[in-house]
Amino acid sequence: MAMIEIQNVTKVYAGGVGAVNGVTLDVEEGETLVLIGTSGSGKTTLMKMINRLIEPTSGDIRIRGKNISRMNPIALRRDIGYVIQKIGLFPHMTIEDNIAVVPRLKGWSPERRRQSAEELLSMVGMEPHQYLRRYPAELSGGQQQRVGVARALAGDPPIILMDEPFGALDPITREQLQEEFRQLKERIRKTIVFVTHDIFEAVNLADRIGIIDEGRILQVDRPERILAHPADEFVARFLGKHRFQLEMSTAQVKDVMNEDAVTVRISGHRQSVARVVELMRQHRVTSLFAVDEQRKLIGIVTSEAVRGIREEIGLEEIVALDVATVSPETDLLSAVHVVANSKYTALPVLDESGRVVGVLTASSLIGVFADGLTGNGGTPAHRGVLPDTAVRKESEKA
């Protein structure tokens, strides 16, 4: 059962404005659903029907299977965090009191309220003792918005509604808050409905994106799927000229890397150069990675470095340590920059502990670029990856 089930919901405002027209949509527990659409498309209206700030003209909304029209709206709202389009902090309350509103309404003890306010403030990246006693007017816009997020999390609601929470911020602060929020939501695992009209924000934060126009949901899917398969002309136009860039930012290194990096162990007993030459010939690569017993990266050995060297020299002496690395989660857009600035055409892909888990090559990226724009190949992971340096060929796998 989905956390929020929206069934055939319509809202016609007094005066006959049809703001939402027969929307059916499920929001799964723990997911972030981003509603995106142009101004006036009905995003706010749809969102406010979830906490009954607006009553639908027809249709049903259920939360955990319970029809909300039969719930007490006040109790309902105390269990749904809400960040409004214009922040809306209470100017006459301290930051602590602002955050503690819902806990206070729920009758928590003062100690518990204070403790939760402190925790939440640190969670949004603000030093509690510096800010708890301040007033909203004494904070910057970005800080106010952080407090707005903390306030919505207070009382530990399972659902959070956020209406363009970062819309009013300058681009740099906005990006920073988005990034922090992305990490925060991974930790707190709430069901989040997030409204925006910024496609980059949507792609960055969403588990799924719902595209809304004239009160209708045109497409709901994972960001990379919407980018690869826009449902119709409008969606495609909405993604517009940013589509390729967006696609690159949703795909990660692990989608295109080759997991069979050719490596050679050098610590412990000495490895001969002849062994390296043999490996390169066998796997038809021009470079390979030197690793220790735990497969942790030491450096890169290139064919130029071994050319003409006699067998007696230890590998340590020809390993280049200045190799740039990426992680499996690095997005392709950033990876392209790393590759472009790298001395070597093959980059080791390292997990958190520094172990080599794959190799990313310039030509595999070029392959993605070649296929990417046509949009006919699903996610980049499913596209062909060209054989290259440090890459074991399919046929040669053990």
Binding site: I74, Y82, F90, H92, M93, T94, L105, L161
Partner: protein, 214 residues
């Protein structure tokens, strides 16, 4: 000047009595006006349909010349303190109702919606959000009313309610300038003093977060 001072000294017991009488009339009238005016102002924000007619009616009362209003009171309530207090209350009401109403109306709707969205009941929104934010405007209305009241209370002697109008009216009738000045000066001083004290109240009651950022 000297005559005025002499008058004040020689009639100090009477002056003190009239002053206290004045304060008492204004105090009672203001007490009633604040209680009724704030409640009416709040009701108007909830029942918007009433706002225009009620504020209109209160303005009409305000336009009636005070002497005339006191005269109108006599056939209804006779003479003495009661009609005086009723008249003063009526004059004091308008600024308080109007400022309470506008003070609450001018609260940013986004802030009220935030409160509603977090699960505040209507009463909680009023007490926790709207009234604290409207305090400076409401007190400004109370200050205006108080000054008006102190002034109009100098006339209630005409319907036998005494107060600081007594020496003024006697002075006019007996061509005694010193007596007129004495009454006027004390009444004016009283208005200034009350306005000052209410100003201090405003400072104390205005929530810290919305005071002009220093």
């Amino acid at each position: 000047m000297i005559e005025v001072a002499q008058y004040l000294v020689s009639r100090r017991v009477d002056m003190l009595y009239w002053t206290l009488q004045h304060l008492q009339l204004v105090g009672i009238a203001m007490g009633i006006a604040i209680a009724v005016g704030v409640v009416l102002g709040i009701i108007l924000t909830r029942v918007q349909l009433l706002a225009a007619p009620l504020l209109g009616a209160a303005s009409v009362i305000q336009t009636i010349p005070s002497i005339a209003l006191l005269g109108i009171m006599i056939p209804l309530l006779g003479i003495g303190r009661t009609p005086a207090i009723v008249a003063l209350t009526l004059y004091a009401l308008l600024p308080i109702i109007r400022n309470t109403y506008t003070g609450i109306q001018q609260v940013d709707p986004a802030i009220v919606e935030a409160g509603r969205g977090m699960g505040m009941s209507g009463r909680q929104i009023l007490v926790m959000v709207e009234l604290p934010l409207a305090v400076p405007v409401i007190i400004a209305g109370i200050r205006t009313s108080t000054v008006i009241c102190v002034g109009i209370a100098t006339l209630v002697t005409l319907i036998g309610a005494g107060a600081l109008g007594t020496p003024i009216i006697t002075g006019i009738q007996t061509y005694n300038d010193a007596e007129i000045w004495a009454g006027a000066a004390v009444a004016a001083g009283l208005a200034l003093l009350l306005d000052f004290l209410l100003g201090r109240c405003e400072g104390a009651l205005t929530p810290k977060g919305i005071k002009a950022t220093s």
